[in-house]
């Protein structure tokens, strides 16, 4: 005999399985999620499906917080940008939260991108080219 609370937990699990915080949706970003960039971006742009006000944005590289300034007095818009400081090669994680001006709901999200750096990218390209020459012969 299956206990009622197990059935209730299973039902709740099935219901809760799926995307959450699906209010204002992040449609795209520059840099894009999982992008590998040769040149460090000077700004970060988030594009949503509706007008939002960006409430918070944190940028971290490993355990190091990169200072980013968010203008909370900016008018609501479907596209919001923040200026970035000079970024060294490495992996960066972006965490953002925004407020929809239509329904007053909070949306949150996180994504990462990598700054490879021009020198590293050039070296990697040269390595790939060198490896391709014997194969071609």
């Amino acid at each position: 005999m299956v206990k009622p609370w197990i059935l209730a937990a299973a039902a709740a699990g099935m219901i809760l399985t799926g995307p959450v915080f699906a209010h204002a949706k992040l449609q795209s970003s520059i840099p894009a999620a999982d992008a590998r960039l040769q040149v460090a971006p000077k700004s970060l742009t988030l594009s949503f499906n509706e007008s939002v006000r960006l409430a918070a944005l944190t940028l971290t590289a490993g355990s190091k917080d990169i200072p980013v300034t968010v203008d909370r007095n900016a008018p609501a818009a479907a596209q919001v940008s923040v200026a970035l400081p000079a970024l060294a090669p490495g992996q960066y994680v972006v965490q953002w939260s925004a407020l929809s001006v239509d329904d007053g709901h909070v949306s949150k999200g996180t994504f990462a991108f990598v700054v490879v750096g021009a020198a590293v990218a050039a070296a990697a390209a040269a390595g790939a080219a060198a490896a391709a020459i014997p194969a071609a012969q």
Binding site: V20, A56, S100, G104, K108
Partner: protein
């Protein structure tokens, strides 16, 4: 984004705000149509209930704004961050909270001295419908009809769920004829009110879902089905009260009084579950029609 402590707190506070506001408004309605037939001691208790629920609603609403700010910042410090609080306030919460507070204050001031006047009912209605001033219905385009439907739905919910605590108070004083009279008056009005609230809720749901398959094909739809399961439980209990217990009360059956109290407590549990599920899915998910 993972479900966090601030999201749980937001859902809890939203549930409390719903329950306190709709409870206060419903108790005002109850006093209006049932006032003369209940004892003065019960009328006083119900007035105190309105006052307590109104205060709870205002406090929970304010706490909800602080928790939203904390949720956005990701830390408790956000609760005191003026720019975040202002942002939440300006995004609709401020307008809804202000309307709710004005409505509840009007209702409380006019209910405390005696039988609720028309202005007290208007205040209660303003408070109950304040939830339509923000939320998903406002995101639909055009939004006039969805907001109107949500307002009608909320008034019906306030009438129904808000009557349960006053009914329990009346059912606890052992006076069978008064108990039967209160249950009969409520039951007679409830048939019409519940039909209207279900019709308004169904029409609004259709607009938010977009198509029937979204009921099982989306997270939002699955939450709605869980809510409808609790609504079915509530309807079954209400039907049992009206068709079985109320006639037995009229016949002087003392055991029916105890059964009615138990049934009303179960209705309260089902009602709180409905509000909690509603708070959860309106916080965590968006309707498919807005995708």
């Amino acid at each position: 984004m993972p479900f966090g402590i601030w999201d749980a707190a937001a859902i809890l506070l939203k549930t409390l705000t719903y329950a306190a506001t709709l409870g206060a408004a419903g108790a005002v309605f109850f006093l209006r149509y049932n006032g003369p037939s209940i004892t003065s001691a019960n009328r006083l208790r119900i007035r105190h209930l309105v006052l307590g629920l109104a205060l709870s609603s205002v406090l929970a609403g304010a706490a909800q704004i602080m928790v939203s700010a904390a949720s956005m910042s990701g830390s408790a410090a956000g609760m005191w961050d003026g720019s975040l609080l202002r942002m939440v306030w300006q995004a609709g919460a401020g307008r809804a909270d202000t309307a709710r507070a004005i409505g509840l204050l009007t209702a409380v001031l006019l209910v405390l001295p005696g039988r609720p006047s028309g202005w007290a009912l208007l205040g209660a209605a303003l408070a109950a419908t304040s939830f339509a001033w923000t939320g998903h219905a406002r995101s639909l385009n055009p939004d006039a009809l969805p907001i109107l439907l949500l307002g009608v739905h909320l008034l019906g919910v306030a009438f129904w769920l808000g009557a349960l605590l006053p009914l329990l108070m009346v059912a606890s004083d052992g006076d069978l004829p008064r108990m039967a009279a209160a249950a009969s008056r409520f039951g007679a009005a409830a048939i019409f009110v519940v039909a209207v609230l279900m019709a308004a809720g169904t029409a609004l749901l259709w607009m938010l879902l977009g198509h029937v398959a979204a009921l099982w094909g989306s997270t939002y739809g699955r939450y709605v089905m869980l809510k409808l399961t609790f609504v079915a439980c509530l309807l079954a209990l209400a039907a049992y009260n009206k068709l079985r217990l109320t006639p037995r009360l009229r016949g002087g059956d003392v055991r029916a009084a105890q059964s009615l109290r138990t049934s009303i407590r179960l209705e309260l549990l089902a009602g709180m579950s409905i509000l909690a599920v509603t708070a959860a899915f309106t916080t965590l998910t968006g309707p498919p029609a807005l995708d």
